[in-house]
């Protein structure tokens, strides 16, 4: 191997050296110096390339999308007929279609009463950090956060935040969603609860409170405190 070939081979891959190239680098100080420079460059390349992180919940979103595909392949015909029947009944009986995700979110709050327990005053900083992990920015407007935690709804992990507000105890649920699962704003009632769900680009925001509360105020409160993080490249 001549020096020109050795330089070419080093530029192609300075880490994995065949025996002949390794010998050439040992015997030639110029090649050894070039290799050291290239290794230094590669460390910088690896750091720059690795300086890109996905938004939290990427794996869950991928799995969800694949699951939707799986169902659509196997149950396409059945789903089409069910959807048609559903669309007809909804046209007759309801102003807007129910979102299964929104239903699951509301059910979660109704069932998981333990999360309404008052765990004290959780700091705004801790709340910010927890929500940032799922790509949501939190603005503290002075309400006491009495509970925040991860929760699983419809096969995905989101955040469950409970606050003491001037309107009373209010729960906020923020869940990742596949595009279209919650396509538009929904207002729902169940038992003694009512809820407003608002779609964001890759998540669904929900505010759930006692049935006597004003839904517009609930939604406004949610909008003041929570927003998707800007994540443009």
């Amino acid at each position: 191997m001549n020096a020109q070939d050795a330089r070419r081979a080093l530029l192609a891959d300075p880490r994995r050296l065949p025996a002949e190239l390794e010998q050439a680098v040992r015997d030639d100080a110029g090649l050894a110096k070039l290799r050291q420079q290239l290794l230094g460059l590669d460390d910088k390349l690896a750091a720059a390339f690795g300086d890109v992180t996905p938004l939290p919940g990427l794996a869950e979103r991928i799995i969800l999308r694949a699951r939707y595909r799986r169902r659509s392949v196997w149950l396409g015909a059945v789903a089409a007929s069910v959807l048609l029947a559903g669309a007809l009944s909804l046209t007759v009986f309801r102003p807007e279609a129910e979102s299964p995700l929104a239903v699951a979110m509301l059910d979660h709050v109704i069932v998981e009463k333990g999360e309404l327990a008052d765990n004290g005053n959780i700091s705004a900083a801790a709340t910010k950090v927890s929500l940032a992990q799922i790509g949501v920015a939190y603005k503290d407007i002075g309400y006491q956060v009495r509970h925040i935690g991860e929760c699983e709804v419809a096969g995905r992990i989101g955040r469950h935040v409970v606050m003491n507000t001037p309107l009373g105890v209010v729960t906020f649920l923020i869940m990742p969603q596949v595009k279209g699962e919650l396509s538009s704003r929904r207002v729902m009632n169940k038992g003694l609860f009512q809820a407003v769900f608002v779609p964001q680009k890759r998540s669904a925001f929900g505010v759930i409170a006692d049935a006597h509360m004003n839904t517009k105020q609930m939604e406004s409160m949610m909008g003041q405190m929570f927003a998707p993080m800007k994540d443009e490249i």
Binding site: A3, Q4, R7, R8, A9, L11, A12, D13, R16, G30, L34, Q37, L38, G40, L41, D42, K44, L45, A46, A47, A48, F49, G50, D51, V52, T53, P54, L55, P56, L58, A59, R61, I62, I63, R65, A66, R67, R69, R70, V73, K128, V129, A132, G135, A137, M229, K230, D231, E232, I233
Partner: protein, 185 residues
Amino acid sequence: MIPWLRPSSAHFDQVVRAYSSELFQYASWLCRDRHRAEDVLQEAFARAWKNWGQVEDESGRRSWLYTIVRNEFLRDTGRAKARMEEPEDDEPVDIADDIDFTCGVEIRDLLVQLPEKFLEPLLLQNLMGMSCEEIAAVMGLSGGATMTRLTRARMALHQLMHGATEPNATPAKPALRLVQTGGAK
């Protein structure tokens, strides 16, 4: 597919969790856009699921996924055919014996100027730790062409470091900036 031969959903989920972050990095640098990268990745995994059983040897799963992400990116940009027709660049490169790779500038600024055909093998080698053979398999090149591509890529970087324009390079895309997000602000 016969239902009892269907691959395990749990295995698919496990692979997604293991590789989605690094594949996202790969897709982000290819697309130079975070949202598009995620779309490409989601579509790629949906396609991967449909053909999950094609991989008989699990050690080849990772490279197979990279190939699918790459193909999805090319499909998304409408360049699949053009890329297949691109000739291999296996002409030897002359390298001066006093060439200096000491880099005093921000490497990230150079990478956004680097043509895609050079950026990609460097990305696969330095971030993913792939060998020339693995890169060749993902990019559909011969081993020799891959080594030449990597040599040319480092030469192109060298020329960018020293303010020159790579003579044979296609014009670089506008210098899009990758912005780090996802953490607390």
